[in-house]
Subunit: 239 residues, 2 copies
DNA sequence: ACATATCTGTGATTGTAATCAAATTTTGGA
DNA sequence: TCCAAAATTTGATTACAATCACAGATATGT
């Protein structure tokens, strides 16, 4: 791993280097703070914390991805967030919130860095610039949620699924000659649980989009987006 | 109007007194800041700003309420936020965001207070405690959006509508002997546009909830929630 | 208080997605 | 590489909500 602050290769694997909220810190500040961070690893399917838990720590993803979800009265998962490398969460418990509003579960092997509440508050008051960074990050999160809500609100199912694909393309897409290659963080069932629709419907609609030449699935976990413009028109995200 | 900082009645109508993010300021700081705030009034239906506008100000609602929405490709409004007294918005434009992600329109006669970007940044660095307050407020907003997403994701329509009613009860409800009296910020059509369903369906489902004895509509703009427990069970919000 | 414009409720029909039930493909571990 | 488990696709049927059409109720301004 290479980073902006160390010469040559970094061996310490400081998650901080991947996290925008710490980008305003000097190397010295970073290494001081890194000394008060704890590390954890999780396997796919492992639960980081459950809805209602009163944990008091900020969790930063160093590697991997995590879904945040609730169980609906119908017994289905409603996914609320998908967090990946560099994202942080759990912060609500640090700022006034009492209990976790959702369960967090690793979607793949995941490594995290953990701040305790005390460590975090100390840092916050010592480095006010971080607060602004946090606000910016929360704004990004709100913007992402707004985008998801817009996708969910579209009445036509193709539009909803297309909207989610665009969101994922934005966050997980890699531009290749033919279009945008999207490594999906969620399975078909996960997508269904994000949008609140049936798993089978997701399959059918993706099949439809494929036959229209808009996408080309590459295995189950990757989709090649060939015609983003059509999707944008379907979802109203052509702004 | 009465406030914690002035003896007797306040005549200056400082919106700051209603806004949690300023609660950590001293009276002197408040009156200094109030001198750099601008005021605006809007009629019902008037647009404060439109999607894509690059405004650079923080808007605080002093009186009234405002909806934030986008237009879906189907031509329908997708409501993303309902802001009311004490809420602030537009802040994304202050923190890195470039353009407004939605259109803001007054739902009723509304008075606002406006911070310019410069004034706001000065205040932020002079009073670091405000940053923490802002983070807390954004966390609340995220929590509210999570709740809305959960409502939207419930498959059964009664559940979705019930979830929204609970959200509104939380924010706009007043406890009365018979239950909770909710002054709805949105019309039936507004509710439909929030949830992404048809207006008629909202009517039908509310009618159904009425015949089940869960709610009692009082005119078009008020609903008396008689049996919150049933709603909570329907929506999974009984945590 | 009245009148008009807007909003809301109800019925009939249609369209779309949920559900149930297998068959098939993909994936990850031995 | 192969095998078993998991995930996905596909088909048939059913249930539910969207739509269209209009009647009725509410609200707002004069």
């Amino acid at each position: 791993m290479k980073c902006d602050y160390c010469t040559g290769e970094c061996s310490h694997k400081l998650c901080m280097h991947k996290v925008p909220i710490f980008s305003s810190l000097s190397p010295e500040e970073m290494s001081h703070i890194s000394s008060i961070i704890k590390h954890n690893s999780y396997q796919r399917g492992e639960v980081l914390f459950s809805e209602g838990d009163s944990l008091s720590s900020l969790i930063i993803i160093n590697e991997g991805s995590v879904k945040g979800f609730k169980i609906t009265p119908e017994g289905r998962e409603q996914i609320l967030h998908v967090f990946s490398e560099g994202d942080f969460f759990g912060e609500r418990n640090l700022f006034g919130g009492q209990q976790s509003a959702y369960t967090a579960e690793a979607l793949e092997p995941t490594k995290t860095c953990v701040f305790t509440k005390d460590a975090f508050y100390k840092m916050l008051f010592a480095h006010p610039g971080i607060a602004v960074k946090i606000i910016e990050t929360l704004e990004d999160r709100i913007a992402r949620m707004e985008s998801t809500m817009q996708s969910m609100g579209v009445r036509s199912l193709d539009g909803r699924i297309g909207g989610l694909l665009l969101d994922f393309a934005d966050k997980y897409g890699e531009t290749v000659p033919e279009g945008i290659l999207i490594r999906l963080p969620l399975s078909r069932e996960g997508i269904a649980n994000f949008l609140g629709v049936a798993r089978e419907t997701v399959s059918r609609k993706l099949g439809q989009l494929e036959s229209e030449g808009v996408i080309r699935p590459v295995g189950n976990k990757t989709i090649l987006l060939l015609d983003g413009e059509t999707l944008k028109a379907m979802t109203g995200k052509d702004s």
